[in-house]
């Protein structure tokens, strides 16, 4: 009897423990977390589409009736359009459907001489890129990889099917935000001094007022590139809608979906933003390495990239109309599994926002991102490297979150070997 009682008590204690453990694991339903994620993606791409359409209207107005004001209005629309788009970059690395498409809209860096006239200091063709100075705007016909190209009419199809990544060179960026940015601002010839590109509005003027030649073709190019951006974003927004492929893929397998979320957060934070986009620019002292180099908007692209990572974790996105998309979050899920890891990762993401916020603050007060990159500019280097360190630290916390959720299998997304696992058997 005595024994039995003890055994029962022990069992009760054990089951109590088990129940406690189960409660700790509870948190929100994993499906609900994935739904929030897909909802944020859908809202982000829809907002990007809305803003791209506004840009399209301003571009059409500029071409119809060129003026300094019209060019300025188009530039302002482009800057606004970047705000929602940069927050979607976090969806890229974890979702092959986004990664495969992304190059059409946000490829960078580019050899802008492919598109239009450039300063003599730009040089010409290079070892890496024979077409670095092709200048499509000035040349209605040319030879590309041995093929005669008729570009008398500049259409979205010509840009996307023939010219983008011409000759298999990634720097031949003929489409997307950065091609449009170049057409609106022109080259930034200020080096590591303050200042963005200074393309005159007369580059779009008619008749004798036209500067730098071929204004009509330049306008055609700008229009074709903007139309293409709108249709590409429209497509992606649909992929995240109720029956869209991107959403279905994420929802199909809970663990894979969570892995996609965390992979996107970690790969963007570390290899892409901290590495390629921020550290490399400082280490090269090269303003050409700025993500938004023509418009001097790089500090914003860094800021909104980082915010996108935080959105995914916190399960919250503020739309361009001020409304909020939110729901059960990855943070809730991690907190249920290990409150300490959640607290650490949340704090790390907030810390990064403060660091990139400092860069943004300094840049908006006149200490532009180009100046921060200058050789020997210790204040600029410290601002950028502190943000880099913070991004690296948050990546470590993301790895810990992967561990406590038990959704390992992370990393190497986007690598050639993983995309093509059968390569070895070919």
């Amino acid at each position: 009897m005595q024994r039995t009682t003890t055994a029962l008590v022990t069992l009760a204690a054990l089951s109590g423990l088990a129940a406690g453990a189960a409660t700790a694991q509870d948190g929100p339903d994993r499906k609900a977390v994935l739904t929030t994620y897909a909802d944020i993606a859908e809202a982000g791409y829809s907002d990007s589409l809305t803003k791209a359409k506004e840009l399209q209207a301003k571009v059409e107005a500029l071409i119809a009736d060129p003026s300094a004001e019209a060019l300025q209005a188009a530039r302002a629309a482009w800057l606004e359009a970047r705000v929602p788009y940069q927050q979607t970059e976090v969806f890229r690395f974890g979702n092959p459907i986004v990664d495969d498409w992304e190059g059409k809209v946000n490829a960078w860096p580019l050899d802008e001489g492919l598109i239009d006239y450039v300063d003599t200091s730009y040089g010409g063709a290079t070892d890496e890129n024979q077409y670095a100075a092709l200048n499509i705007v000035a040349n209605p016909t040319f030879t590309l990889s041995g093929e005669e190209i008729d570009a008398t009419e500049i259409t979205p199809e010509l840009l996307s099917d023939t010219l983008h990544e011409a000759d298999e060179v990634e720097a031949n960026v003929a489409t997307g935000y950065h091609a449009i940015e170049f057409l609106l601002w022109g080259q930034d010839l200020n080096g590591t001094e303050k200042g963005a590109g200074e393309r005159p509005w007369t580059d779009y003027a008619a008749g004798d007022d036209c500067t730098n030649g071929h204004c009509d073709r330049r306008g055609d190019y700008l229009k074709a590139a903007t139309d293409l951006l709108v249709s590409d974003l429209d497509w992606m927004a649909q992929q995240w809608a109720a029956d869209g492929e991107a959403r279905s893929t994420v929802m199909a397998d809970e663990n894979a979906g969570l892995t996609a979320m965390l992979t996107g957060m970690g790969s963007l934070s570390y290899g892409e933003q901290a590495g390629e986009r921020m550290k490399l620019g400082v280490m090269l002292n090269d303003p050409e390495e700025e993500h938004d180099c023509f418009s001097d908007n790089t500090y914003n692209s860094h800021y909104y990239d980082a915010l996108g990572v935080r959105n995914v974790y916190a399960g919250e996105y503020v739309r361009v109309d001020g409304s909020v998309v939110s729901g059960p979050s990855l943070s809730d899920l991690v907190a249920a599994a290990d409150p300490q890891v959640d607290a650490e990762l949340s704090a790390a993401l907030d810390h990064t926002m403060a660091e990139v916020g400092q860069i943004k603050t300094a840049a908006e007060a006149g200490f532009s991102y180009d100046m921060m990159l200058a050789r020997g500019n210790e204040a600029g280097e410290a601002l950028i490297m502190d943000a880099v360190d913070s991004l690296v630290a948050q990546t470590k916390s993301i790895e810990r979150a992967v561990g406590v959720l038990g959704v390992e299998r992370i990393g190497f997304e986007g690598s050639d070997s993983l995309d093509n696992p059968d390569a070895v058997f070919q």
Binding site: A13, G266, S267, Y270, G271, G403, E408, F412, D416, V424
Partner: protein, 328 residues
């Protein structure tokens, strides 16, 4: 219950796995020492005679030593972008050539103060800047009293300094890995995290060789890119592949707690193929048969990666973390 709890605690505080200590003691420390010594030797050789021809042998040794540590892309190596400053490659925009040419053409006075040379763009520093000075015919003919001579001394000084600092900082960093999970260690909260960092470095090293060292010159079948081979000017493209694979094999063996026959065989296969290849800078890439051989090398390197994942990953209970090169 008490016993069970105590058991949990003792498991949590288990000492670092043999693998982590072994990698650090048998590979990382000696290889970093070797790299520091080889770059110091290059620096003093440049003090004696700064001309290209005189420095090529010491340069080759320093590059050899780099291949023993180039995969350690975490901790001290990432501090202040050190890996980029030592070895800026791939150089997709041709920055090294342009930067070195500009330094020489402008006779940038920074070369006269080697201790400040770390300010210069990474495209003008490290092994690849030296490669231009020593092997690019347009630049390598300089004499003792030239600007390029001072530049060679500044770059070798800066390189030796970085190697020395790297070695010293690893002495502070190694205890963090060896004492993972101990109170106050925020870098590695558990032994598993330390194992994962090394495991990630191992897989990323293999990935880098497959995708970059071999993948870049391979280009596509229609458009091979032999001019994109790593360190082709100094004739090291294939040698770098071999030396890196050798270092990674040593690391795999040290990291594993149990025999790893599948991984070892995969390494042996790719290394045998690589040593047999008579194409030091992948110049034979233009011909289909030449290209095929390099493609096979790439596939065999990917096969090593899968063997490591299946064998060592499973043994250690870890998967790869994020790595510094996973952007695009």
């Amino acid at each position: 219950m008490k016993y069970a709890l105590a058991l949990c605690l003792s498991l949590a505080a288990a000492p670092a796995s043999a693998g982590v200590a072994e990698v650090i003691d048998d590979q990382i420390r000696p290889n970093l020492a070797q790299f520091a010594e080889a770059t110091a030797a290059l620096e003093s050789a440049a003090e004696q005679d700064c001309r290209a021809e005189a420095l090529r042998p010491a340069y080759q040794s320093a590059f050899d030593a780099w291949m023993g540590v180039s995969h350690l892309r975490f901790g001290p190596m990432e501090e202040g972008g050190r890996a980029l400053a030592i070895s800026f490659w791939p150089d997709k925009r041709g920055m090294v050539g342009a930067t070195v040419a500009r330094l020489v053409a402008e006779e940038d006075p920074i070369a006269r103060t080697p201790e400040e040379f770390g300010e210069v763009s990474v495209a003008g520093r490290g092994l690849f800047a030296l490669e231009r000075l020593f092997y690019d015919e347009a630049l390598s003919g300089y004499g003792e009293d030239s600007y390029s001579c001072a530049l060679a001394r500044a770059v070798t000084y800066d390189l030796a300094r970085m190697a020395r600092e790297l070695r010293a900082e690893w002495e502070d960093y190694a205890p963090l890995m060896l004492k993972a999970g101990e109170a106050g260690n925020d870098t590695y909260l558990s032994d598993k995290e330390a194992r994962q960092a090394l495991y990630t470095a191992l897989l990323s090293g293999l990935e880098f060789t497959a995708d970059q060292r071999l993948g870049r010159p391979l280009g596509t079948f229609e458009r091979p890119r032999p001019e994109r081979a790593e360190a082709r000017r100094s004739g090291r493209s294939l040698r770098n592949v071999i030396l890196s694979l050798e270092a990674l094999e040593d690391m795999a063996e040290a990291l594993a707690d149990e025999p790893i026959p599948v991984t070892e065989e995969a390494f042996d296969t790719v290394l045998a193929e690589a040593r047999d290849l008579d194409d030091p800078v992948f110049a034979g890439m233009e011909a289909p048969t030449g290209r095929l051989k390099v493609e096979i090398l790439q596939q065999l390197t990917q096969a090593v990666r899968r063997a490591v994942e299946g064998e060592i990953g499973l043994q250690l209970g870890v998967t790869a973390g994020f790595n510094a090169t996973d952007g695009d």
